[in-house]
Assembly symmetry: C2
Homo-oligomer: 146 residues x 2
């Protein structure tokens, strides 16, 4: 017969582990964008999206990042207030606005991007070369299938 009483184990529960790992790996970097630019996590992500992929509408950011529209809306408002991005009405759709980084926004992106790369390298060092690639693939699968 198999081993008895296999009751639920929180510490082996995948969502729990993922949350802990996400929390742990995010915390250190969070301090960076918070202290340097007073940004929230969502703001940093919106900035990074615009920095990496160029001007796009809020709708596009939502689709790409799976961040709730209200979070994006508020992050955009805050970033605009800080002079990090500007809005131009879309010529194609009167409801939409095209978001693009200002000079200041691009500078912040360049700065934080470098630091993020360093942070990522450090984390991947912990994980190890081969496991790192596998990890990305697995995480991506989890993200996609949910």
């Amino acid at each position: 017969m198999t081993k008895g009483a296999d009751h639920f184990d929180l510490e082996g529960f995948l969502p729990y582990l993922l949350n802990q790992a996400a929390e742990a790996t995010s915390r250190a970097f969070q301090a960076v964008y918070r202290d340097r630019y007073g940004m929230t996590r969502t703001q940093w992500r919106v900035l990074a999206h615009l920095g990496q992929f160029g001007a796009m509408t809020a709708r596009d950011i939502c689709a790409r990042s799976h961040i709730e529209k209200t979070k994006v809306s508020r992050a955009v408002a805050a970033l605009e207030g800080d002079g990090m991005l500007g809005r131009t009405p879309s010529p194609e759709d009167g409801r939409a606005e095209i978001l693009s980084l200002t000079e200041k926004g691009r500078a912040a992106y360049a700065d934080l991007g470098e630091l993020a790369k360093a942070h990522d390298r450090a984390l991947r060092g912990v994980v190890g070369q081969e496991a790192s690639a596998k990890l990305d693939e697995v995480l991506q699968r989890l993200i996609d299938t949910t």
Copy 2:
């Protein structure tokens, strides 16, 4: 020379991937404890800790789970209000209270624990047998080294 302009890639940024995966895998289960018991994530975790490891003080829960003490404090208050747990003053330390699940709390834990196991099995099915074990190990390493 190496490949040119390797600028920051948000979608390959480990904290970002982990957050997305954590978010995605947690959301479905969150609906369960929210709809059935009106619990928050922290409440569910506290309940699970007490259910799995037995009576302990709030301090112990903090140490074990890395949840902030205020979060634990409020979750405990809420669970107590819902009749899920009770407190008894610690005989050893006049400040501490020993928390233990009530009958109702144990029932909720048994119910949710079963559902959690099923959810976990489904997720691990997505990841695959072997990758699953490796994943746990890698996540644990990230959690510990931070």
